[in-house]
């Protein structure tokens, strides 16, 4: 019951085209790899250049100024925990992967999101694509990235960027759609150029929802970066993978707890920004 006429493997057809891409566009991919590696290494070197205690102190002070006392204490505890667990380097690698990926995701998603809220036809075209992107399991994003960029940090960050775009894009569009029309009309009535309308009226009014999008984007990126430990991205994900595959449970547990600490740190800091922003407005 297996007539060979029914056999059809799209992969066998697509594999040569991936090869073709790899041979003919190699300079392009190599350039992307080089660029990503350079940015990442720079970021990582900067984080590791400062001694751990110094970095913890800087983060605590920043958290205190930007968010509040509780966030500052939490940030100190989380980072201190990573240091105590002997996973400082891995934690910083994970943090730099997440930061770079989120920055690029936002840079891509924000303008498209704004355009989508201006032009409904564009939104109608983008929406089904986003639906599909948010349904597909995260693992699947890693596959094409690995095919083109092989194993390592570069496919990890490419997959993370792509994975982080949909939530940010969706919430940017939503944020700008929610801006009351009156304020925009007011802006044009007093003769403000479109750029000032965007920066002085729309972005401040949309800030709440934009920050929710940022929080989502950060958490999804962290999930992806950790998962990318499977394809050799390094960082805490790699330590978890090592723990899982070699049954080194002590290491796995330490890495798992360090991931919990990093996730809490990122979530509470980004959510803290949101809450702080909400308070004065309520008055």
């Amino acid at each position: 019951m297996n007539p060979s006429i029914l056999q059809f493997s799209p992969g066998a057809f697509l594999a040569p085209s991936v090869d073709w891409l790899n041979t003919n566009f190699h300079p392009l991919f190599a350039a992307i790899s080089y660029l990503v590696e350079a940015v990442l290494s720079g970021f990582e070197a900067a984080l590791l250049f400062v001694p751990p205690y110094g970095l913890i102190a800087i983060v605590v002070v920043l958290a205190f100024v930007a968010v509040g006392l509780r966030a500052a204490i939490l940030a100190g505890l989380c980072l201190g925990f990573c240091l105590l667990m002997g996973l400082w380097t891995a934690s910083m690698q994970t943090l730099s992967l997440v930061t770079v990926a989120v920055l690029i995701s936002v840079l891509i998603a924000f303008p498209i999101g704004v355009l989508c809220s201006r032009y409904k036809t564009l939104e109608a075209m983008v929406r089904p694509v986003l639906d599909v992107m948010q349904t597909v399991p995260p693992w699947v994003y890693l596959i094409p990235a690995v095919m083109i960029f092989s194993l390592g940090r570069v496919p990890a960050i490419i997959a993370t960027i792509v994975y982080g775009i949909p939530p940010m894009l969706r919430l940017t569009t939503l944020a700008f759609n929610q801006v009351p029309k009156e304020f925009i009309e007011l802006g044009s009535a007093i003769g403000a150029p479109p750029r000032s309308v965007l920066w002085k009226i729309e972005i401040p009014l949309a800030k709440q929802t934009l920050l929710v999008g940022l929080n989502q984007c950060i958490l999804l990126s962290l999930a992806m970066v950790v998962l990318a430990g499977l394809v050799g991205a390094g960082g805490l994900g790699a330590e978890v993978t090592r723990g899982l595959t070699r049954m080194e449970m002590g290491l796995g547990l330490r890495a798992g707890l360090a991931i919990v600490a990093v996730a809490l740190l990122l979530d509470r800091l980004s959510r803290g920004l949101l809450d702080r922003d909400r308070l004065p407005k309520a008055k």
């Binding site: 697509l14 991936v18 995260p138 095919m147 330490r254 991931i259």
Partner: protein, 282 residues
């Protein structure tokens, strides 16, 4: 500060604690594993019983009833494609894993969600826990599971249930709480018994939200089951994991296609079921 002494101690403690737990709880963990693997094997057996075209046909018919003709045709063809790629057994075991895990998650999540809907204190008590589960990257839930249950589908199931439970609890509790006050008062005025009130008024109003919860649970389960390939869950996750590590491009493309097909089909079907439930009422 040199913390390596502490780290070694920590690792030793973890290992000896795990040894103690698995020595003393062997009976417990073995029976958990057997129950889980039994459930999984049962569902898999059911799915493998009919030939592939029958399953594709059933899915297409359900899709036709719930979504539309085009979706039905597309999903039937897409499932047939999974067969012709030679990945049918893997597709079915992934489906069986997802169905087992989602069922377990719903059996746990819906009653807790209903209780949380009635008792706000319980809701407030669980909220931080659910928040934490949803904040953490799903990948790390494999760690405790593999430590206690070892390599195999049972580990994959436990980790998947952990990530699939929170949406079920959250949306069920939300649905119960959102029952309009007027209808509850109407029920009281009619002298309904609490049981009747629950089944005739609260549950129908909560249904769309519960269905949305089922859809969410299913999607979380898909995400996790595929990742669980690394702990030997079997199915497409393991196929892709193996293919990626050996850089076997053709197989990983096929595996990815099969997963996307399966996810999209189940997502659209459950979403439409949720939407139909809402429409019929209004």
């Amino acid at each position: 500060m040199d913390s390596s002494g502490f780290i070694d101690l920590f690792d030793e403690w973890t290992d000896s604690a795990l040894e103690w737990v698995s020595d003393n709880g062997e009976f417990l963990f073995d029976s958990i594993r057997q129950v889980l693997e039994g459930l999984y094997a049962g569902i898999l057996w059911l799915l493998e019983l009919p030939p592939f075209y029958l399953i594709a046909l059933i899915v297409a018919l359900v899709g036709w009833r719930l979504v539309n003709v085009w979706f039905a045709l597309l999903s039937g063809v897409a499932l047939a494609l999974c067969f012709s790629m030679g990945l049918w057994p893997e597709t079915m075991s992934t489906l069986a894993l997802v169905l087992t895990a989602t069922t377990l998650a719903l059996v746990i999540g819906i009653p807790i969600g209903i209780m949380a809907g009635f008792f706000p204190a319980l809701d407030r008590f669980m909220e931080p826990g659910l928040d934490l589960i949803q904040t953490l990257p799903p990948y790390i839930y494999l760690l405790p599971a593999i430590a206690l249950l070892g390599y195999g589908p049972a580990t994959a199931l436990i980790a998947t249930v952990i990530v699939a439970v929170p949406p079920a609890i959250r949306l069920t509790s939300l649905g119960i709480r959102m029952t309009p006050k007027e209808f509850i008062e109407l029920g009281e005025a009619l002298g309904m018994t609490p049981a009747k009130m629950f089944f005739k008024i609260r549950l129908p109003f909560a249904l769309p939200s519960i269905m949305a919860g089922i859809n969410q649970s299913l999607m979380m389960a898909f995400g996790m089951v595929v990742i669980a390939g690394i702990v030997g869950s079997g199915g497409l996750g393991e196929t892709i994991y193996g293919a990626i590590r050996t850089l076997d491009i053709a197989t990983s493309i096929n595996g990815a296609i099969a997963i996307v097909v399966l996810t999209m089909v189940l997502d659209r079907i459950t979403q439409s079921a949720a939407r139909l439930g809402t429409r019929r009422k209004s």
